[in-house]
């Protein structure tokens, strides 16, 4: 199974945002942000788009699969 790679943590830190703040913005739990940053959770398209919208980037810039 291809591994999910993300630069979510990097983008979040660049904007000085905590995991809690990001979780509140996209209405999910902090634990989900944690696992998203580690590439351990495959998000739904809606969640991926919501997170990408917060950072003003395209979904492909935020998430990709290591194939």
């Amino acid at each position: 199974m291809p591994k999910l790679i993300t630069n979510l943590r990097q983008l979040r830190l660049e904007r000085g945002m905590s995991q809690e703040e990001l979780a509140d913005l996209v209405d999910i739990r902090r634990e989900t942000i944690l696992r998203l940053e580690k590439g351990m959770y495959n998000p739904s398209l809606k969640l991926a788009m919501d997170v990408a919208k917060v950072f003003g980037v395209a979904v492909e810039e935020l998430f990709r699969f290591d194939e």
Binding site: I28, R29, E31, T32, K38, M40, P43, S44, L47
Partner: protein, 143 residues
């Protein structure tokens, strides 16, 4: 506002404690015929706690009072799937024992409650296991 909502993990932990206790108490009666006053008290307490936890869980979840998201719902679906397969296995074993081996198994209330408690414990326990697995992996990845 967000933090005032009840944690689904806490609700599942309470469910697991109630279900595990209920399961042990019910099977103690079925297998070892334990029927003391203390047993009856624990049995009744577990039954009421189970009904209360089930109704409270249903009402809180449908009214959005429980803090959950798509990952917790995904874990809950996985756990329900495991509980469903466990239910199929229990029924299959019962059918084999009754039909295949001709065993005379009395379907009593404690037996039914015991099986229900056990499946409830499997569901809650597996959900907590999935949540904990992720947390453990997060901690490992941090080092």
């Amino acid at each position: 506002m967000e933090s005032k909502r009840l944690s689904l993990n806490r609700l599942k932990l309470v469910s697991l404690i109630v279900a595990s206790t209920g399961s042990v108490v019910s099977f103690a009666y079925c297998l070892f015929f334990v029927d003391s006053l203390a047993w009856q008290i624990v049995y009744i307490v577990c039954l009421f706690a189970w009904v209360f936890a089930s109704i409270f869980s249903l009402v809180s979840t449908t009214r959005g009072r429980v803090r959950s998201d798509e990952m917790s719902r995904h874990n809950e679906e996985e756990a329900s799937s495991v509980a469903y397969r466990a239910a199929q296995t229990v029924l299959m074993i019962a059918v084999v024992l009754i039909v295949g081996f001709g065993m005379d198994i009395a379907i009593s209330a404690p037996l039914l409650f015991g099986i229900s408690f056990l499946l409830y414990a499997v569901q809650s326990g597996f959900y907590l296991f999935l949540e904990k697995e992720g947390i453990k992996a997060d901690a490992k990845a941090d080092h």
